[in-house]
């Protein structure tokens, strides 16, 4: 039901959203400009444009390794943390059990911890256990911090999950696995998707934990950080722009494929 005030509100919300999106991209665009200017130091309008930094970035074997490391870590962290957090969220928001209150609080603790301290402490711990730090230990470190976050995110949706649906499915003879696959997962999917996105982004962009726990394996944020602080060159913003663009391409293409598939499968 549309009223004038509602239409006004809608317009207001649209304008506001557009403004925030604009603000969100403004620094990314500035970075893109910096990556395309020949000079190491930025000035606007740009004096001389150059694709030199892009070429260097693309050509860099080192950066390829970084992207691989970062991707690998982020993907594993995403998968594992979503798995852990999915059940964690059920324990957090769905089941009534004795330790629930405690669990709800304890799970927050890792998030409250300053990440560099957590990273350093984890490094001490890994070394005490005789584990050589590497990207695998970084995965564990990321998990310690990210699983609680993802648990919270998924819990948002679990709060509104109707348990009678699982009861009904179970009553119809479905096994646990089947219920998970057919009922729980699809219904909680938006929350899981959000959680996965969080997991990926938090891992992909994580610097403080990777710094201490990735050992000799470097990641994009580690590289960017060191480049930014000493040895800045427009490869830094160039890599940033590339990340945004590739993410956009991948996500949009993926989204398109999913939409098309879905449209083909279901018409009503």
């Amino acid at each position: 039901m549309e009223t004038r005030s509602h239409i006004q509100l809608r317009a207001l919300v649209k304008v506001w959203t557009a403004f925030v999106v604009f603000a969100l991209y403004l620094p990314v665009v500035c970075g893109a400009l910096a990556g395309l200017s020949k000079g190491r130091y930025f000035g606007f309008p740009i004096r001389i444009f150059s694709t030199e930094w892009w070429e260097k970035t693309v050509a860099s074997l080192e950066i390829q390794t970084l992207v691989q490391n970062s991707l690998l870590i982020a993907l594993i962290v995403t998968l594992v943390s979503v798995f852990f957090a999915f059940f964690g969220a059920l324990a957090f928001a769905r089941y009534d059990w004795k330790g629930r209150r405690l669990f709800q609080k304890a799970i927050l603790l890792p998030i409250f911890f300053p990440q560099p301290v957590l990273g350093l402490a984890l490094l001490l711990w890994f070394n005490a256990l005789g584990i050589n730090p590497s990207w695998q230990t970084a995965v564990i470190a990321h998990l310690v911090w990210i699983v609680p976050v993802v648990t919270l995110v998924i819990a948002i949706q679990v709060y509104s999950f109707d348990p009678t649906l699982e009861e009904a499915a179970r009553d119809l003879g479905a096994s646990r696995w089947f219920i998970l696959k057919e009922i729980t997962l699809p219904i909680l999917w938006p929350g899981i998707w959000s959680g996965a996105l969080f997991a990926f982004l938090l891992s992909w962009g994580n610097f403080p934990l990777s710094l201490y726990t990735a050992g000799v394996d470097s990641t994009i944020p580690k590289w960017l950080y060191s480049k930014m602080v000493a040895g800045y060159s427009p490869m830094v913003p160039a890599l940033g722009t590339m990340s945004t663009l590739s993410a956009a391409t991948l996500l949009l293409a993926g989204g398109l494929v999913i939409t098309l598939l879905r449209r083909r499968r279901r018409d009503v």
Binding site: D162, L165, A169, R170, D171, L172, G173, E182, I187, R266
Partner: protein, 376 residues
Amino acid sequence: MSVAMISPPLSEAETDAGAATLAKAVPVLQLVDVRKTFGDFAAVDGIDVDIREGEFVTIVGPSGSGKTTLLRMLAGMEAPSSGYITLRGELINDVPADKRPTCLVFQSLALFPHKTVGENIEFPLKVRKMPAAERKRRALDFMRMVRLPEHYYAKNVMRCSGGEKQRVALARAFAYDPDVLFFDEPLSALDYKLKKVLEKELKDLHRESGKTFVYITHSLEEAMVMSDRVGVMSRGRLVQIGTPEDIYTRPATRFVAEFFGEVNSFPVKRMPDGGWTLAEGGPIIVAPVDTAMGDTATVIVRPETMRFVTGPSRADNLISGKIYNEYSLGSRMQYQVHAGERIYLVEVARAAASGLVAGDAVTIGWDARDAILVGD
């Protein structure tokens, strides 16, 4: 009633005699002192009953009397707080729903909102790994059975109307095809005609499959037409269980009598000679009852056994009054008659309605054999 005789009563709460003779049949479900408490409130407060293989048992009772809770325990959705539930002799208190050969049609339907009508119905078939084509064929069969159009197969179930949803829930349970089916007001959102059609389908299914049905309804007609036995619940207890005929004609308590429709009830006192007198004075003639009765009781006379007494016709009991109001109930007319402090209800077939209008003085009467004497 032809079907009513198939399954005489078994449980303690029963009123029917001759039960013992058939007790050898193993009950499919046996409830012993089953209780379910929420906090300190007992939603189900000690129920004992045996349900035999192939029986169609209907549970009726006021809103909040514990019907749904009882069914949820039987289906394995909820564990009893105390007592025992056995299935074919095995204790199943803690057996989860998927390990019981039972299925519940939820009062709340519990349809899967992310699935189509077809996918909802196919769910139990998919569980059983039936091939997709076969599944679809079956789903369409069940859709036909509940009178859902074929093109609903691909419809988002959340876009269905209330009654359509209810039918999807029903079809889904049929598709599962378990030994014991529980129904929680499965036809409540359907129109009269469709309800009749599906009652018949249900009855046929029951008869042909030999499955056990436990059915909750608020429709007296449904209970009467479909059930082998009807159980009446009140405040978490089963106050009476027996054949529909029994329940209707020999209600154990005033509660049961009144529950099954509007009745005329007269508080009565016992006289020294063993007969009864109206509490407000005046003799009353009733048929003798075998049950022990206290010094006060209630005489129940159903509106349809009340009649207007005119001319030569007679009745065992007579009361004079004035027509206060008349209602058409479709096939019947109901009259409210003012007499003394009370209003009496008289119901007659539309065809027999005698053109009486409000204000007319009338005499109403009933026969002793139509009066039911119940304890309080």
